[in-house]
């Protein structure tokens, strides 16, 4: 064969990788085997550019029941209950087709959660688009939000929180990360390792079609380009109704202890789910593709093996329990088909009826995959252009505040979260924008207290300084939990970066992972799992490096969780935590058209101590109001408390502009009766709730009604054109 026309290159494999496959097989692969290898060895499935780096993250902690490597991480939340959670990206599908891309992103992360035996109880999303004055960004934003809502709402899992940012660096390559949290009685947890030679392999759920063929390799593991409309067939189509039946059916199968193992079908479909189950169980699997129920009759065996059709699960069943499994599936109207069995061969063998059409060592597909060292190099020049200035240099502090509140990164995301069912399940104690983290009470499940969940990241700050920016993302997530009184139990992350084969992207990725590691160690929070999304680049360059951090924490008393809103006239306002604001990397700097090339260094140990103090203050229970200081600094945080409460405030701040609009991790505003505030250790009283204006002595005075208009109307007005 001539290398120029070699099929392996079209499938995204390099020549040395092709040689490696031949070496492991002892022969050249046939077309089916090549297709399977190309997916299993793709960045998306094999993490070949990130695996070595991820090994530096701390993954052990007292609450962990399942760590990285399973379908989702699982932590012990007490009372015999376990919480499973994970965040995953669906960036490239969403950039090509936002509604289905985002919808199936939600579908996929839900399957990861019920694959470990947990009932999905909450979805959060982290979204990035270009600026909203771009028609393409508005199209992607509206489509992705509608897609997330469509899937989550239809399946009865509440979407309880999330975040959205708009930056030019995401114009071509938007980010759609979805996180799911699930809950299970500990005894229902199940792993994905296939076990028991002779056990039956049963495919559950939807028929297999041609949708999503090559999604993991062609779409997820390469940069985006102008011809991406031709990639639409690589985007999957979701059917939440099918998944809703699949959730109930799988959980009932597990409640009745009928399954030996369970795995979802995601990227690379049957190929990856079967080989990963076999690898973990150190067994082999025989699959007969002629038994797989198809949407289209004339599908080739290789297409059946790599299709990414949604709403499918694979389970291993002991022969004696097969009839019970099939009967229960029929009751739920879920298609269930025996497609193969567990063998002792340690090979994945694919049959088409009696004909052997593929035979691959499991080891070569999953474990013995080439891993690459990154070649990081700090760039000599700025990687990103300065943003376009949107605020006059001579703007007054009041004008700056209103401009910040109406900037799309800070303005109310009501347009987004009202399209999501945030309450189904009867666990939601704090709805979106009413507190810093979503709070989910455990009482309906027989537990005590509540879970708190947050998802955070700020790509622009990571672009300024990948190490410090990543540390800040972890601190912000932990701070959001602290602001509702929760202690973090575990962390999941999604690393969204550009092409890691480029030295400056490798540098961003390496520094960011080091930052996450150091922050996790300082806070004592382990990483329970995550996802990596690389090659996020369009024609105009890489996205901002965007590590997204999701955390699940526990709090003892849901009834006294503070809200963002100022509650009553006369309440004292104080600052708790550790807050050293600076303008570098802030939203105000962005509005002025500047992007800093570094962030101030942080004292991580001091920040960890400060968060413990914040949590203790909130848990003391006398504070109706708490809100962390993030984008737009103290002035915007105060404005948000005023708008939410429909009441003003008067405060005095010492220092210059950075004290008013500067940003830094670690600060939380609290408000409450004077005696509650006075009892807080280390709190700095800055003012009092009351009146109809937000007044910062000597700096600005703006009526709350004007703040509200700026904050509430900005995004709907921009979308309306």
């Amino acid at each position: 064969m001539t290398l120029a026309s070699a099929p392996h290159r079209e499938l995204g494999l390099t020549d040395p990788e092709y040689d490696g496959i031949c070496e492991r097989l002892g022969r050249e692969p046939n077309a089916l085997e090549l297709a399977v290898f190309s997916l299993m060895w793709s960045e998306h499935c094999a993490y070949k550019h990130s695996k070595k780096l991820l090994r530096m993250l701390p993954t052990e902690g007292p609450h962990i029941l399942m760590g990285p490597g399973e379908n989702a991480g699982v932590v012990d939340v007490g009372d015999g209950l376990a919480a499973a959670f994970k965040v995953e990206s669906h960036n490239h599908p969403s950039a090509v087709e936002p509604f289905q891309g985002a919808a199936t992103g939600v579908g996929g992360i839900l399957r990861d959660i019920f694959a470990v035996g947990a009932r999905p109880i909450a979805v959060l999303d982290s979204l990035r688009f270009g600026e909203l004055d771009s028609p393409r960004s508005r199209y992607l934003f509206e489509g992705a939000v509608k897609g997330i809502g469509h899937y989550g709402n239809s399946i009865g899992v509440p979407t309880v929180g999330g975040e959205v940012y708009f930056e030019p660096a995401y114009e071509q390559n938007c980010l759609v990360n979805a996180m799911c949290v699930g809950l299970a009685p500990r005894e229902r947890l199940i792993r994905s390792a296939a076990a028991g030679v002779g056990n039956q392999l049963v495919l559950l759920g939807a028929r297999t079609g041609r949708d999503g063929i090559g999604g993991a390799s062609v779409l997820a593991s390469a940069e985006l380009s102008d011809e991406d409309e031709s990639k639409r067939p690589t985007v999957q189509i979701g059917d939440p109704f099918e998944e809703s039946k699949l959730v109930e059916c799988c959980l009932e199968l597990l409640d009745r202890d009928l399954l030996a193992s369970l795995q979802d079908l995601g990227a690379a479909g049957l190929s990856s789910s079967s080989s990963e189950m076999a690898s973990k169980g150190e067994v082999g699997l025989d699959i007969d593709v002629s038994r797989v129920p198809l949407r289209e009759a004339d599908m080739e065996p290789f297409e059946i093996m790599i299709s990414e059709s949604q709403e499918r699960m694979l389970c291993v069943v002991e022969p004696a329990r097969l009839d019970d499994v099939l009967a229960l599936c029929e009751r739920w109207d879920v298609r269930a088909t025996v497609i193969g069995e567990v063998t002792g061969t340690q090979h994945l063998r694919v049959f088409d009826g009696d004909e052997l059409v593929g035979d691959m060592p499991v080891d070569a597909l999953v474990d013995d995959v080439p891993l690459y060292d990154l070649e990081p190099e700090e760039p000599a020049e700025a990687l990103y252009p300065q943003p376009r200035a949107r605020l006059d240099a001579g703007a007054s502090p009041a004008e700056a505040l209103l401009a910040l509140l109406s900037s799309s990164n800070i303005a109310s995301k009501r347009f987004v979260f009202e399209q999501y069912d945030s309450i189904v399940g009867s666990r939601t104690v704090r709805r979106p924008e009413s507190a810093d983290a979503a709070v989910l009470v455990l009482e309906p499940d027989g537990g005590s207290g509540a879970l708190a969940v947050s998802i955070d990241g700020n790509g622009r700050r990571v672009a300024c300084d990948p190490y410090t920016g990543a540390v800040e993302a972890v601190l912000e997530c932990a701070r959001n939990l602290a602001a509702v009184g929760a202690e973090p139990l575990g962390l999941t992350n999604c690393l969204n970066f550009g092409n890691p084969e480029k030295p400056h992207i490798a540098w961003q990725l390496t520094r960011a992972v080091e930052g996450i590691r150091d922050a996790c160690l300082a806070l004592g929070v382990p990483v329970v799992g995550g996802n990596v999304s690389l090659y996020n680049e369009g024609g105009e360059g890489p996205i901002y490096p965007t590590p997204i951090i999701g955390m699940v924490g526990k709090l003892p008393e849901p009834r006294t969780v503070p809200r963002t809103a100022f509650a009553a006239e006369g309440h004292a306002i104080a600052l708790v935590g550790m807050f050293e604001p600076a303008l570098d990397g802030s939203e105000l700097e962005k509005l002025r058209g500047r992007l800093a090339s570094s962030l101030p260094p942080l004292d991580l140990a001091a920040h960890a101590d400060a968060l413990v103090r914040v949590r203790a203050a909130i848990r003391a229970g006398g504070l109706p109001t708490a809100h962390d200081i993030s984008e737009g600094g103290l002035a915007c945080a105060l404005a948000e408390c005023c708008v939410a409460g429909g009441i003003g405030a008067r405060v005095s701040l010492e220092g210059d502009e950075a004290a008013v609009f500067g940003e830094a991790p670690g600060g939380v505003i609290v408000a409450g009766p004077r005696e509650a505030i006075d009892s807080l250790e280390g709190a700095i009283v800055i003012g009092e709730v009351g009146g109809g204006d937000l007044e910062i002595d000597g700096v600005l005075r703006v009526p709350v009604s004007e703040l509200r208009t700026a904050y509430d109307d900005a995004i709907p007005a921009t979308l309306a054109g």
């Binding site: 709402n153 109704f241 009202e418 399209q419 999501y420 309450i423 009867s426 939601t428 709805r431 009834r559």
Partner: protein, 216 residues
């Protein structure tokens, strides 16, 4: 007194409704494929996307074996409460007047709203006074109530959205209606998500409380 809460494939809020009912009386789930109502005294048709809401919201569920029994139960005077998708199903089944159309925004909306009790004389509102304001969330894409002129007498309007709270463009701010006999009611707001101040409001509990007051 025992409630039965219908479970269709694609139902979302059936467990929430079950828990809400159990605050006031006994309650069990009823399976869509059964015909037997298990001797329940009142039926709740819950929210969600029954059978995926394919074809048209509520259009398929209306033909399920259980619904045939529910329709018979309602015609015999048994109390039946349809919430959101359940309201849509009851309209499709011809047990309630009017229909639910796509929201005027054409988007899903999840929001806490206030509704006014217009008719406290039904089995669903007897724990309320006329003019009471209830804070209850809505969450739907297809909730704009419409009935042709002359087909909805005033006394069949049980709940109206308070001024400024109509989330979907419903005709005359109608949020909930009953049949002529008053034993079948449908509403778009979700009272089962308003039974505990911890999760937002307890006002929706008044509907279940009213039903539980019906002599068994």
């Amino acid at each position: 007194m025992k409630f039965g809460v219908v479970r269709f494939p694609g139902s979302c809020d059936e467990v929430d409704a079950l828990m809400a009912c159990r605050r006031f009386a006994e309650a069990d789930l009823l399976w869509h494929g059964d015909r037997d109502l298990s001797g329940v005294d009142a039926v709740v048709v819950p929210g969600g996307f029954s059978y995926g809401d394919y074809l048209r919201v509520g259009a398929i569920a209306r033909f399920s074996p259980l619904m045939e029994s529910v329709i018979e139960f309602a015609r015999d005077g048994g109390p039946v409460l349809g919430i959101c998708n359940g309201f849509q199903v009851l309209c499709e089944a011809g047990l309630l007047p009017g229909a639910l159309l796509p929201n005027d925004s054409l988007r899903f909306v999840c929001r806490q709203v206030e509704v006014m009790v217009e008719n406290p004389g039904t089995p669903f509102t007897r724990a309320c006074e006329e003019g009471d304001t209830l804070s209850i969330p809505v969450k739907h894409t297809t909730g704009r109530y419409y009935a042709p002129p002359g087909t909805l007498p005033d006394e069949q309007v049980v709940l109206r959205y308070a001024a400024g709270h109509n989330p979907n463009g419903s005709m005359d701010d109608v949020a909930g209606v009953c049949n002529e006999d008053g034993n079948v009611m449908g509403l778009m707001p979700h009272p089962e998500h308003a039974v505990d101040p911890l999760t937002g409001s307890a006002d929706g509990g008044r509907l279940f409380e009213s039903l539980a007051m019906v002599p068994a």
